[in-house]
Every structure is written in C-alpha cells, then in structure tokens.
C-alpha cells in the first residue's frame, strides 16, 4: 500500500454519554476502494462526517489528504468529494447547472469550470442528459449526476455515503463499474453500503459493530477467517427436521437455514457430501446438493454474532 491518504487513529465520537464511534483506527491507500460496512446506527455515518470535516472528533485524530480533520476542516472539504445518502441535487435545475454550481462552490470559474464540467460529464457518461432537469431523470442517472457533482473539482478522495440506496440492480452495477474506473485512475473511494454483494467490489472492508471497528481486511481474508471451510447448499423439502442431526456430523462447523435452502459448513478437508444426502433424505426430499462459496453476508452474520456473544459474556 502506498502512503495512506486517509488515516484514522483512535478516532472517537461521543454524544452525551453515548459512544457512537469508539477508538477506530485504519488507513486507506491512494486509489483504494475502501468499504465501510455495518448495521444502521453502527457509527458509519458518524465516522464519515468526522472524516469529511463536518463534525469534530471527541477524541483521537484523523488526517485526510494530508489535512487534520479537526484543525483544518475547510482544507479537508476542499480536497474531497462527498455524496450524501439523500442525493442533494437541485431538482429544478438541469445537469449542467447543477455541475456549474458545485464547480463554482469549489472555486472553479471560467475555462477551468467549463473543462471540469466536460470531464465530469464524460467520466459519468451523462452527455445525453445535460440539459435535462434533475427531477425528470430516472433514479440511476440522477445518482450518477450526484456522483459527477462530487467529482467536478477532481478531488483525490471521494466519500460516498450509501450511494446506491434505493437504486435498481442494473443501475447499481453500472454505478460500481464507474467507481472501479475512478479507483483505477487513482481516486481513492471511501464507500458505505449495506448491500453485501456490492462490498465484494471493495479492495478492503472495515466492519463496524456498535461503534467499534471489529474487522478490517480484504473480502477474501475476511471470509477465510470468519467463515472458514467449505459449504454445501441443500435444496429440497422438509429439510428442517434433520438440521440438528447434520450439525452432529464429524467436521461440521455450522448448519444454517438460508432462504429455502440449508447451508452446511465443513471444516477444511472434512467435506462429506454423501453423509449430508443420507441424513436429509431420511426426513424429507433432497433435490440438489451443491458447493457454495461463503459470502460477505455470512461474514457479517458471523461477526455480528460474535459481537452479540461478547456482549452477553
């Protein structure tokens, strides 16, 4: 990893007696896509707000693009792009006028502004919608326009707070290919999401539970650590009755219902498909047994479960 462009050291935020962000430490390198995950109220937005200079930390420190967020929030704001959860475009203005406004707010004018707008339009593929009023744009396009507004001054870092909330799957996919292109071109992307499939696109992921950063690594490493082994997915009918028996099989780490299917996870090298078939066929009907890869959703559930256990202990 090259020199970090975002650095949080024991970052902390309290509201009254409530600790929203508790000693969070991480680094994000240049051109990295960093995913910040967690349930609602886990402290994601509070962290973003501190990193963007919108809120002073109660403890610890953070530097963004080389500026201390507590000491030079205005410099931080000038160096980053920020796209909030609610797309806050001006709906009665067209795409060009929205871009012109945000460019101006970041101090661009004249030819530099014109060039910046052209470039933002080009990067986000909005050339067909330039003169359309924002309110008449479909959700996916509007969200791309919001991204363009956050990029118009060509910041080194963009913070995207739940950028794809409420957008259809096809638009989400398009949006993520935009984000990956950005990162390839050297822009650092700090993104929060609660779509676990999207999190797979991130180079590294930080997982927040109750204000604490409980896991921080690449998606692959997180899966290997929290959801080790290999899983089988069994589909069929009347599978519930055999779940306890399957859990007692040698080498089985976990048996979990997953939608209409049941996932059985074995320790590495202990996979026994025949035994699984036998047990589940006894009680119900097995249609199909297939290996499945662990998802980040499994990781999230495993980590959240651990957190809950800790809390109970």
């Amino acid at each position: 990893m090259s020199a970090p462009v975002i650095e949080a050291r024991a970052l902390r935020k309290e509201f009254g007696g409530f600790v929203a962000v508790d000693d969070v430490t991480f680094e994000v390198g240049r051109g990295e896509i960093f995913g910040y995950l967690g349930a609602n109220g886990a402290g994601k937005s509070t962290t973003i707000r501190m990193l963007c200079g919108l809120m002073a930390p109660s403890g610890g420190a953070a530097t963004v693009a080389g500026h201390d967020v507590a000491l030079a929030p205005m410099r931080v704001k000038g160096a980053i792009g920020y796209m909030s959860q609610r797309f806050s475009l001006y709906r009665d203005l067209d795409a060009d006028h929205n871009l012109e406004f945000f460019g101006g707010i970041y101090g661009l004018s004249g030819k530099a502004l014109t060039r910046a707008i052209e470039r933002a339009i080009e990067r986000t593929g909005l050339s067909a919608h330039r003169r359309e009023v924002a309110s008449s744009l479909p959700g996916g396009i509007r969200q791309r326009l919001a991204l363009a507004c956050a990029l118009v001054h060509e910041p080194a870092i963009v913070f995207l707070d739940e950028p794809t909330a409420g957008v259809d799957p096809a638009s989400r996919r398009d949006f993520w290919s935009l984000i990956r292109e950005l990162a390839r071109a050297g822009t650092t992307v700090f993104v929060t999401t609660h779509y676990m499939d999207e999190a797979e696109y991130c180079a590294r992921i930080g997982l927040m539970v109750d204000g604490r950063l409980v896991a921080l690594d690449t998606p692959r490493a997180l899966k290997a650590r929290y959801v080790p082994g290999t899983s089988l997915a069994i589909s069929g009918r009347g599978l519930d009755g055999a779940m306890a028996e399957a859990a007692a099989l040698p080498g089985v780490l976990a048996v979990e219902p997953f939608g209409a299917r049941v996932h059985v996870r074995f320790r590495e090298g202990a996979l026994d498909e025949a035994a699984v078939r036998t047990i589940f066929s006894r009680e119900g009907r097995v249609d199909r047994v297939e290996p499945v890869e662990a998802s980040l959703e499994d990781v999230f559930l495993a980590v959240a479960g651990e957190g809950a256990k800790e809390a109970a202990a």
């Binding site: 205005m74 609610r86 001006y90 009665d92 101006g104």
Partner: protein
Amino acid sequence: MRRFVVRVWALSAKEVRHVLRDPRSLYLALGMPVVMLLLFGYGVSFDLDRLPVAFVDHDHSAASRALRRRFTAGDDFVDVGELDADGAQAALVAGDAMAVIVIERGFERHRARGERATVQVLVDGSEANGATQLRAKAERMLALLGVDGAIRASGAGAPLEARTWTRFNPEGKSAVFLVPGITAYVLAIVAVLLTALTVAREWERGSMAQLFATPVGRLEIIVGKLLPYLAIGTLAVLLVLAVGMWVFDVPFRGSPAALALLSFLFLAGMLGQGLLISVITRSQMVATQAAALSSMLPSMLLSGFVFPIENMPQVLQWITVVIPARYFVEGLRGVLLRGNGLAELWPELLALSVFALVALGVSTARFQRTIA
C-alpha cells in the same frame, strides 16, 4: 478573496436560476406591489366627497334656505333632504345621512342684526376617519359662510377638535400619502417571505447538509443567497415608485441618494429577518407563516402606514420603536413629500442600520451554531 467572489457568484447564479425556473416568486415580488398600490390608490381611498347631509330647518327663512343651498353647492356635500328633529336622528342611525345640519330658530334675524348665528352639525362618528374629515370640511364651509358651528359627534364620541393645516400634500390625496406605506408593506412581505422560503427550502431538501460538506463558508452562503433578493427588492421599490409617480402624481422632492440608502438598509434588515426565521424554523411551512405574520402585521399596523403612530396607545407607540417599517415609511415620506435629504433623515437611517446589523448578525451567528 477571488474564491469568495467565485463562490458567492455561484450561489447567486443558482438562486437566480431557481427563480427563473419557477417565476411565481418573481410575480409575487414585482406584481403584488403594483396591484396593491393600484388597489389602495384607487379603491381604498381615504378621501371623502359627496357626503350625504340632511337638514333640520327650524327657521324656514330665506337665509336658512340660502345656507342650505350654498352648503351643498360644491362637491363635498350632497343634500339628502329636509327632516324634522326625530327624523334627523333616524337618518343618522339608518346611515342615510352622515351628518345633519340643524339651523336654529331666529337664524335669519340674528344674521340681519349682525349677531352670532349658530347652526348645529350632528356627525355620525361611528367611522372615525370619515367623521374627522367631515367635521373639518363642515367647519371650513361654515367659516366661509360666516356661521358658528357647534359640532357634535354621535356614536363613538370622537374629540371635537378639528384642526386643518395641510402642507406638502395640500389636496389631502390618499395615494400621495399611501405610496410610502405601501412600499414598506410590500417590500417587507416580499423580502422576508422570499428569503425565509429559499433558505428553509435548502434545509428541507437536504442540500444545506451538502453545502456544509463543501468548502463554502457560512458568510458566503448568506451573501450569495441574499444578493439576488436584494436586487429583486430594489426592482420592486423602483417599480412602486414609478407607478406612484406616473399614476398617482406622487412627487419626488428629496434626495435620490437618501432614497437609495433608505431602501437598501430597510431591505437588508428585512432579508436578515427572513434569514433568521428560516435558520430557526428550517421548514418552509412554518417559515411561510412566521414570515407573513412578522412582516405583514407590523408593517401594516405599526408603521404609521394606516394608523398614525401619534394616535396609538402609549404601549403600542413604544413597540413601534423597534419596527423598521416605521422608519422606512417616515423616511420615504420625508424624501418624497417633504424634500428631505441625508441631513434630515439620519435618525431614520441610523435606526434602519441598527436593525439590519442586528438581524443579519444574529442570523449569521445562529447559522454558525446550528451545524458543528
């Protein structure tokens, strides 16, 4: 500094685009003043003429008939007939006559001898403004005819004093007197309402939060937002004055510089008031009501526009001290009618400056604190 200008320009340009995209606020800002001026100027005239007057003639002489004829010869009064004493009271009660002139027995004899000849004028005082004007006109007429009038108001007992001494607006035309008041009234509403709405809209849409994530400063937001409305307000002032002069022959006797300064300071104060409302309420709905209430009522009722401040109860008079519209109306009357300049109007200008500074200062400070 250059960045400041660029940012303020971006904010102002955006605001102008909002207005052009939805020009209803422009109609409100420029149409309403003219419509109000025409309405008040033509319709709600405080001038009275052709007042219905009845007579009770106890003398039945050539002199009494002559008095009656001459009294109603002009445009001021219309003769609605002769009545007996009971009928006179009934006519006043029914509203058929606004005044009854009672000519005493022996009127002709007294006049012939050169003694004091007296008539009694009964005035319907239930509408105080009309009664005052009627009394003044009746007194003037009787003085002209060489008769002592004992004037008594019925209904709401208005004082008997009727002093007429008119300068600067000798014809007593309402429009001339009203234009300054309407200017203040309309400007107050437009400036407070539009500012309150535009800032509250940013809160409601969440775009204010977005602005805070950019390097734009609070002062830049405030200046950028207020400039376009200052321009619109200035346009509204010019429009009202133009219509006033063109349609109602309102004079412009004083200094244009004083007028410009008065308008600028008043507008700045009203914009500050609107800003303060929206910073506190943050909702368009509440902001609209608070803005309408806090601008309309004081500038209408406490500015001296409709009711002269000197006639108000003492407590209300004290309250008017903090109503900026009062100073603006006074200043405008000074500039337009009395030919005042900066030298005479400095107290008004000072008061308006204080209000503008306080309103803008407090709202900027509130604005700072609300984020963090």
